[in-house]
């Protein structure tokens, strides 16, 4: 029996908010197409598309059930269909709120009758969107935080991405099957040796770009931990950076691999 981690739950919350936007768009679509009969449509195509949207909507949950892992990227299969559904919703809103005819008309009408319903829907939509974005950044800050911005500002290298590689893969002399930067911090978990780091840099050298490594400890500590590495230590210290993570002060050392 597998368990779902806090990270998964937060992602699920995030996805639920994304779902909120999805449902609201769908609701606007239904109001404009079915309830107000604003647009003509081909029933058979609509059935095909709605079935597709629902299947793609349910798919991430199926994957979560199967693998106990969540990736909201799975949702994005349905975006091309969502924009089709979004089009009448957008036009409907634009026409009803008279965005294009008179900038004051919306203000005078928004408290009247059926417009109030639309305003409420739009407000909820905006709140969901804002909340979703803020949630996302919170998740990134707390759970998948990597000091990318700090590294980028030091190295002036827009392509920098933190990369971790697993020791077994490096020992086999190939780029690993999967390089994970989010869910696991190998540098902390596994006792990664400088030798491992050098192997990993060598494995990545085919990318033909600068390779930066950061290690979650001060440079002195890292060097003292691995005595005798001076000779083959091809990592040039760029900077020691102090930053706060979960409210705690941490230090990481940023190195550049000298090829």
């Amino acid at each position: 029996m597998s368990t779902v981690s806090i990270n998964n739950w937060l992602e699920l919350i995030n996805v639920s908010i994304f779902s909120g936007i999805f449902w609201l768009t769908l609701l606007l679509f239904v109001i404009s197409v079915f309830y107000l009969r604003k647009f003509r449509y081909n029933k058979s195509i609509l059935f095909f598309l709605l079935i597709s949207v629902f299947i793609f909507y349910l798919e991430p949950f199926y994957i979560m059930y199967k693998t106990v892992s969540y990736n909201d990227r799975y949702f994005y299969s349905m975006i091309p269909l969502m924009v089709v559904i979004g089009a009448p919703a957008v036009l409907f809103l634009a026409e009803k709120l008279q965005f294009f005819s008179n900038k004051y008309s919306m203000l005078t009408k928004w408290t009247k009758g059926k417009y109030s319903l639309i305003i409420v829907l739009v407000a909820i939509l905006a709140i969901c969107l804002g909340f979703s974005l803020s949630q996302r950044s919170e998740i990134e800050k707390n759970f998948i935080f990597e000091p990318i911005e700090i590294i980028n500002s030091i190295t002036k290298e827009t392509r920098t991405r933190p990369i971790y590689i697993y020791e077994e893969d490096c020992d086999q002399g190939r780029v690993p099957y999967y390089i994970d930067a989010i869910q696991s911090n190998v540098v902390e978990k596994a006792d990664v040796s400088p030798d491992h780091i050098l192997k990993m840099c060598k494995a990545l050298s085919f990318l033909d770009r600068n390779i930066f490594i950061y290690i979650r400890m001060p440079d002195s500590e890292f060097r003292s931990k691995y005595v005798g590495l001076e000779k083959d230590f091809k990592l040039k210290l760029l900077k020691e950076v102090i930053y706060k993570r979960h409210g705690r002060r941490s230090v990481f050392s940023l190195y550049q691999y000298e090829q």
Binding site: R40, F48, T67, N71, S77, T158, R174, Y177, D180, L207
Partner: protein, 253 residues
Amino acid sequence: MIEKKKIINYLLLIILLSFTVRTVKVLTNPIVCRDSILYIKMADTWAELGAKEALVGYIPPAYVFILAMGQKYLDLRPETVGNIVGVILGSLIPLAVFWIAFSLFDCYKLALIAALLAAIQPYLIRTSTLILRDAVYVPMLSCAFAFAASAIKSKSILNWCLFAVFIAIAAMSRYEGLFVVPIFFIWALYELFTSKQSLLKRFRYLALSSCMVIFIYFGLTYMVKISLSEATYSLWSSTDISSLEPPVVMRAK
């Protein structure tokens, strides 16, 4: 006629906007994410040693194949090929979306709005500019839906064949493409009971289109699977969803 020209102009402008936005994104923020490194390496190996050593795990071959062929025959780096393919295919998503919306609503205004939304949708821009399988999968999926909508509207078997081709390519990019096949059969059942044609006619149409979809989809993916059967580390299957790609934490030891 003038109206039609105007609409085509608008559509071309939207596609140009889509292309420009994606190109700017690639040039200003050229990110290689962690999965990209794997695909680049696989393409590199494929171009040098062939598919046998290149394919690993459950990763479908279409995207890596494109990168590898670009490197092998055009002498371009896989990263560059990935960017070019992503931007070009991504720029065509609004066209597919326009087609779907127009088939559905028979209204140019809505179709243009849908195309514009697809051109500026942030995630669609992002997928087009990363070296990820989504760069091929999403445009192929959109085209498949465009052909499906067109086939439903015109009752054309040829469009169903093209639908199956695009679904097969999508499924060979990401296994999720397979999910569209059951959607087709659910729709066929719906059509069987609701169509206004005579029973014989609708049955003939649905049976023929179903046969073509099955034949083309499974034929194409099976051929590719057979041709890659020697790939040592490939576990990819276009028909077996029980072997979903393992999640991040499970894939990494």
